[in-house]
Amino acid sequence: MKLGSKHTTLLVLAVIIIVAPFFFPSSYYFRVGSLIFINGLAVTGIVILTGYAGQVSLGHAGFAGIGAYACALAPVYLGVHPGLALIIGALLSGAIAFLVGRPILRLKGYYLGVASLGFGILVAMLLTNEAQITGGPDGIRVADLGIRGLLREMGFRVKGSELWYVLTGICLLIGAWLALNLHDSPTGRALRALHGSEVAARTVGVDVARLKLQAFVISAVFASVSGSLLALQNRFITPEVAGFLHSVEMVTMAVLGGVGSVLGAIFGAAILTTLPQVLTVFAEYEYAVLGLVMMLVMIFLRDGLLPSLAKLIKGREQ
């Protein structure tokens, strides 16, 4: 499950983020890159919740929706800077995750999956139906973060997609660093113990309910920030960001790449973000291909793409 130490993972990520642009023929690739990083950030949260603590959430897009709409609405109604709105959104998501998670996480099994599913759908419905505030299903414009303007005043002219490549890349690195730190901390060990066996963890004195809640809240904040970044980059957001499909997409990315490893999950996000771009020629078969890839990975590479491949290569070396 482990792909070398914390620092190798961060180093690999940083090198990829820095070196990749040298191979980009146009700024369209920066756009795809930043989408990968945004999805990667959300998926890193899933790694903490599902990979470390072993809990499944099918409603994380709900938190992405809260983060996204915080950036759209807070500058309009509260007059705050969009950057601050991102933090407000993250705090709000954390608080809601705490309130929602508290009763649910005392239950065992698939209750969290089902309850979070309901939560995600509720958020999406709220965003769709409260049209006088949220703009309804047609979406809403998001204020400019102002960094490009600031850079221009300082004499630097950068393209929007390039700037966002850098910003989201930095956010992803910070997110990965936090997740990896958590992995090796006492909390992280307790979470993994909980993943292995809830009963055993409780026996050795782990406060199971509290830890699950912690993991849920942290991953909700990750999802929220990813939603905010998406909204700020696109300068426009629709309720689809909170939709059920987006929740499933997050879990799929994590599971495909390897939900136990941060690097693996980000790799999964990269594949599922680029796949629709690669498959434009046979767009009609996109979902068929996706389904096939998922099934093959589940059957042959159970730890997820990256960890399984790493294991395979290691095995051959020996």
Binding site: S161, L230, F236, T274, F300
Partner: protein
């Protein structure tokens, strides 16, 4: 396993497929060819494909061939945005047609604006062209115009108190708002205002409420998809003996089939000339163009023509006329030429753009239609 891994890697590396053979004029499109809005995107994409072949076969524009680059955004605004960047930055198109839905259109507008690429949207909402953005145009009439057309007809029939039952989806919600805003201009009072969700299977309770409201003289149902068909069926089951108006969103044969001939009898809705191509009077300016498009489309694809394909038809005609007039494929010149379009007859209506009108249609673009014996008849 190894095969899978290497295919995945190869696929990743091939992320940027090499462009096909060089063409002279590149036009891009991002449409919802699949997914929940494919009933819009599919005929639109097919129409563009057909028209590009037609223009190229006739020698192109000013002797230059057109290359059409089409992407399928599945009505996902985020994808549409990405494809817009790809069309502009990677494929280097000179103009974009697309955005089957309002959401995808609004998502990609900042991108075309920043790059200075002319863009013709195929989506309905008035928010696309109000306020006017310099590079964005659109061909479908707005939902506000549909409301006005319906209210105009109600006024003629002496109706002043109506009930509304609207879908809560993007189309229904937006049209409901526009209708409420313009109702008073026509001396119309909305005295009952009900709604239903996009997946509801029975609207009897809402309709019973409307029926029970005192003084109601007609009912209007903004919405599209299956909802309006269910409303129409429930309406007839409840024996409500008042005129029922539907929106242009369901102006297709599919609606009549879904609602049933008997229930749909007498329902009125604003539609385009395309729908009644066969019964249009010969002296109507649109007759010729509408029939030509209908015949060509139905011959090539063996499926009935739809209003939505007509939007793409008009967008393409406007663009081609603009490029011809500009005499160059410089995006800026094309944009200026589109804005100068005047009296161009399309399937949806006659377009005359100006600096502060990027839709260019008036109410005459709509025909008031009535369903009789499972077919369409012209009211005016």
């Amino acid at each position: 396993m190894k095969v899978l891994a290497s295919t995945a890697l190869a696929a990743l590396m091939a992320a940027g497929p090499a462009g096909p053979a060089l063409a002279d004029i590149k036009i891009g499109s991002t449409l919802a060819m699949t997914g929940p809005a494919s009933f819009l995107g599919d005929p639109e994409a097919k129409t563009l494909e057909m028209l590009v072949e037609e223009v190229n076969a006739a020698g192109g524009i000013n002797g230059e061939m057109i290359e059409l680059i089409q992407y399928d955004d599945g009505a996902d605004p985020n994808k549409a945005r990405t494809f817009a960047v790809r069309l502009i930055e990677d494929d280097e198109v000179v103009a974009i047609i697309g955005g089957s839905t309002t959401g995808t259109t609004l998502a990609l507008m900042p991108e075309v604006d920043a790059a200075g690429i002319p863009f013709i949207s195929l989506a309905g909402s008035i928010s696309i062209i109000d306020p006017v953005e310099p590079y964005t145009f659109k061909t479908p009439h707005t939902d506000r115009m549909a409301c006005q057309k319906v209210f105009e007809d109600m006024q003629k029939r002496g109706i002043s108190k109506i009930g509304m039952i609207s879908g809560t989806g993007g189309f229904g919600a937006s049209m409901r708002k526009q209708c409420l805003e313009v109702a008073s201009d026509y001396g119309i009072d909305v005295i009952a205002d009900e709604s239903y969700g996009p997946k509801d299977a029975d609207m009897t309770p809402q309709l019973t409420n409307i029926k029970a409201t005192d003084g109601i003289e007609a009912v209007l149902n903004p919405g599209f998809g299956q909802g309006p068909a269910i409303v129409t069926r429930n309406y007839s089951q409840l024996g409500i003996d008042l005129p029922l108006y539907q929106s242009h969103g369901v102006a297709s044969q599919g609606f009549i089939d879904l609602a049933g001939n008997e229930a749909a009898e007498g329902v009125r809705l604003p539609g385009t000339a395309l729908l009644v191509a066969d019964i249009l009077p010969a002296d109507d300016p649109q007759t010729e163009i509408v029939r030509a498009y209908k015949t060509a489309f139905e011959q090539k694809y063996e499926m009935p023509v739809s209003t939505f394909g007509g939007y793409a038809h008009d967008a393409f005609r406007i663009l081609v006329a603009a490029i011809e007039k500009a005499g160059s494929s410089d995006p800026e010149a094309i944009r200026d030429a589109i804005e100068e379009t005047s009296g161009l007859v399309g399937t949806t209506g006659t377009y005359t753009f100006s600096a502060d009108d990027h839709l260019g249609l008036d109410l005459s673009a709509f025909k008031m239609l009535e369903i009789n014996n499972g077919g369409w008849t012209l009211v005016d």
